[in-house]
């Protein structure tokens, strides 16, 4: 794809804002529309775009599959762990009021943490799905289309 | 000895024997010895229970409760004692006999054979001692399952097919009808205990009494009531000791014994005679007696002929129950004993003939009588007992059954019994006759009256085979003379409400 110069340049310009936007959606999620699901997908889009333009190998170099595997597990763990720790403070599962002195504030922190876990998992899982599909060796050669 | 655990000991003895036998695959002599010893020990234990019972100690043991009110319980009662004694006593004899037979005939898988054989005795004893219908059903099923490998023993396609018929009819009827009847009884009365006088009285309408009795009668497939008799001839593919013990004693007797027990302790003879619910069963039994005798006439295979004879003889017991009076019950119970002794002798004789000469068909037996005098003599005695001639045990059975028929006012049945005796003569005695009086290789147009029969060297089967069948043949004679005590004993069968009904 070396001759698609315009594409490469535009992509390189686009990727940082996409990631930034994803982060915005992510950290905004505790008190407005947004949150981990949406942010995660947007975040993943940046990487998928990168892979589409620069090739799968480039993506895997940036984001090794082992890392992806650890990260998507970690996301779930962050989510469940946040709730789990609550139990040690005598609260119910997912009751975040232990995180701060006043309950409202604590809930905000809790949601932030949980959403981070969700975002992490969604982003990495989307990338993982993309890699998994894209990395299959095609059994039909390009000419046959 | 009044410890009720003696029942358990008697029950576990054969199982223990099976366990030990299973470890002795490599030592055939030890294995066979243990098998016989186990039989002796079992018989001893049964005799101990019998003694305790005669002393009048009510023995009962409850192992555990499966569901509230549904227990695994063993209780001694007269009928069960008769069956237990017969089954365990004849086990000794067949155990000795099977050693001779299995070795003589060179069968494979002998260890499996002895294991299943012993387990079958556990099943039979469990049925005999069962204190409620549930326990009885468990051991009934167990008996079916453990005898299946015995029937299929030869593993030939015919053996497999026979065993398949065997298992499908026995399991099929027991699950489809017997179990339904049991659960029905349970939902009607809330109990399954064997209670003198029956438990159903007052819980069921006369019409349904008939239906329920039908479920039981056909459900107990081991009683070989027509039209569910096919398994019995099919099971004749088994080695002869199996046919002898299981299809003359344990399995078929378990069937009719179960029927008797159900009639006496679940329905109550009083209920049966009051409602007349068992009248159809009576006619069916009579039909069974005649039809299977006629079929037996046409069987050339010796064991098949004996099998059809068994079907006919089993129907005697059913008949005794269906007549629903005391004489009938006693006749039925006696038939369990006398027929067991008689038929086991016949089967063992058939086996001895097979071991000695590899002949299985009636038409091949010409002249063998002089070659095997003991076998054929025993065969003749047993045949006469089955026919019902004094001074042999079988005579009494017919006597009481005829008394019972008269008492019930069904004189036709006396005729049926007499015709049956004639048919017995017709299909059993020709075998002896062929053995003793026909020349070994009969040619066409040979004149029997003038020519002298050629001398024959005696060539009996191994003594392990011959001695047991002589003992049982003697037993047939002994039974005739000890009938008084037996009768007294059988009078103990509690038929409570009956005393008010009949004089």
């Amino acid at each position: 794809m070396s001759h698609h110069t315009i594409l490469r340049v535009v992509a390189k310009f686009l990727i940082p804002p996409i990631i930034l936007y994803a982060l915005y959606v992510q950290w905004h999620g505790d008190y407005g529309p947004g949150g981990g699901f949406q942010a995660g997908v947007i975040f993943a889009v940046a990487f998928i775009l990168y892979a589409l333009v620069f090739g799968l190998d480039a993506l895997v170099r940036v984001f090794p599959t082992a890392v992806i595997r650890i990260l998507f597990s970690l996301g779930v763990l962050i989510y469940a762990g946040t709730g789990f720790v609550a139990m040690f403070f005598g609260k119910n599962f997912l009751d975040y009021s232990y995180l701060g002195h006043d309950p409202v504030h604590a809930q905000e922190w809790g949601i932030l943490l949980v959403e981070f876990g969700v975002g992490l998992t969604v982003a990495t899982v989307m990338i993982a799905i993309f890699i998994a599909f894209a990395s299959r060796i095609p059994s039909i050669s390009d000419e046959e289309w | 000895m009044t410890d009720p655990n003696i029942i358990l000991i008697a029950l576990l003895m054969p199982a223990l024997t099976a366990l030990i036998v299973s470890r002795l695959d490599a030592l055939p002599d030890m294995r066979d010895g243990v098998s016989i010893l186990g039989a002796l020990a079992t018989f001893g234990a049964v005799l101990l229970t019998l003694q305790a019972f005669l002393e009048g100690t009510p023995l009962s043991i409850t192992l555990f409760e499966v569901m509230p009110g549904l227990t695994l319980n063993f209780t001694l009662e007269p009928l069960g004692m008769v069956f237990a004694t017969v089954a365990s006593g004849l086990w000794i004899i067949t155990a000795i006999y099977s050693v001779g037979y299995m070795r003589g005939a060179g069968e494979k898988n002998q260890t499996r054979f002895y294991i299943c054989f012993a387990l079958a005795i556990t099943g039979a004893l469990g049925i005999a001692f069962a204190g409620n219908l549930f326990t009885l059903f468990i051991f009934y099923e167990m008996l079916t399952v453990v005898t299946y490998p015995l029937v299929a023993h030869k593993q030939t396609p015919e053996a497999r097919a026979g065993a398949r018929t065997y298992i499908s009819i026995l399991l099929g009827t027991s699950i489809a009808f017997f179990l339904t009847a049991i659960i029905w009884t349970w939902s009607l009365t809330g109990t399954l205990e064997f209670t003198p006088g029956g438990i159903l009285s007052g819980h069921i309408s006369p019409v349904f009494t008939g239906v329920l009795l039908a479920l039981f009668a056909f459900g107990v497939g081991k009683a070989a009531l027509m039209p569910f008799h096919r398994w019995l001839p099919a099971a004749m593919v088994a080695p002869t000791p199996v046919s002898a013990l299981l299809h003359a004693v344990a399995v078929v007797k378990a069937g009719v014994f179960t029927l008797l027990k159900i009639g006496i302790y679940i329905f109550g003879i009083g209920l049966l005679s009051r409602t007349g619910a068992s009248e159809w069963l009576m006619w069916l039994a009579a039909a069974s007696i005649l039809i299977s005798s006629i079929i037996a006439l046409n069987q050339d295979n010796l064991k098949a002929r004996l099998a059809y004879s068994t079907i006919s003889q089993l129907a005697y017991v059913t008949l005794g129950l269906a007549l629903a009076n005391q004489m009938g019950v006693i006749g039925g119970a006696l038939q369990i004993m006398t027929h067991a002794l008689g038929k086991v002798t016949l089967f063992m004789a058939a086996g001895a003939i097979y071991v000695a000469t590899h002949k299985t068909h009636v038409s091949e037996l010409d002249g063998l009588g002089r070659q095997m005098p003991f076998t054929f003599a025993a065969f003749t005695i047993a045949a006469l007992s089955i026919i019902g001639l004094p001074p042999l045990g079988g005579a009494w059975t017919k006597w009481y059954l005829m008394l019972s028929s008269a008492e019930a006012g069904h004189q036709v049945l006396i005729v049926v019994l007499m015709i049956s005796s004639l048919l017995n003569v017709a299909y059993l005695l020709p075998i002896s006759a062929r053995g003793f009086f026909y020349p070994p290789s009969r040619q066409r147009g040979y004149d029997m009256s003038t020519e002298k029969l050629p001398p024959v060297k005696m060539a009996e089967a191994p003594w392990f085979c011959v001695v047991p069948l002589c003992i049982t043949a003697l037993g047939c004679i002994v039974l005739f003379f000890t009938i008084g005590d037996l009768y007294e004993f059988l009078l103990r069968i509690p038929l409570l409400p009956l005393e008010g009904v009949t004089p």
Binding site: F37, I129, A132, R136, S139 | R164
Partner: protein
Amino acid sequence: MPDTMINMDLVTGHYNYWLVVVLMMTGLFITVSRGNLIKKIVGLNLFQTSVFMLYISMGKIKGGTAPILTDDPATVYSNPLPHVLILTAIVVGIATTALALALIIRIRESYGTIEADEILEIEHQIDDPDPSPTNPANALMARIRGNR
């Protein structure tokens, strides 16, 4: 009339339900009738989407805004609960689709086709063509066929 139990303010007319029903049946029909596995998945997605729309339209309140807290207490909100539920359902739907597509790729790799009828034919060939004689039922069937 029992239908009055539905809050009529929530449902301004039934036209949305009709649309949903049409979409739903289209999706279900495609799923069931198409032999191509990908088309099946397309149908399945259509089917699921129609349900999402059913929920969302159910939660809509006439004149209601997005359910975000504002300082004005007079604001009418749409019912946020269906949105939350459907967000979850969408995630489930995506997971299902991804899994289904992954399966299709595997099927394509090992069968060389994604047409249901061709796959079925291949599977029939894998099964032993001659019925086993140990099965009494088969023996019976063979005998019946033989007699004819």
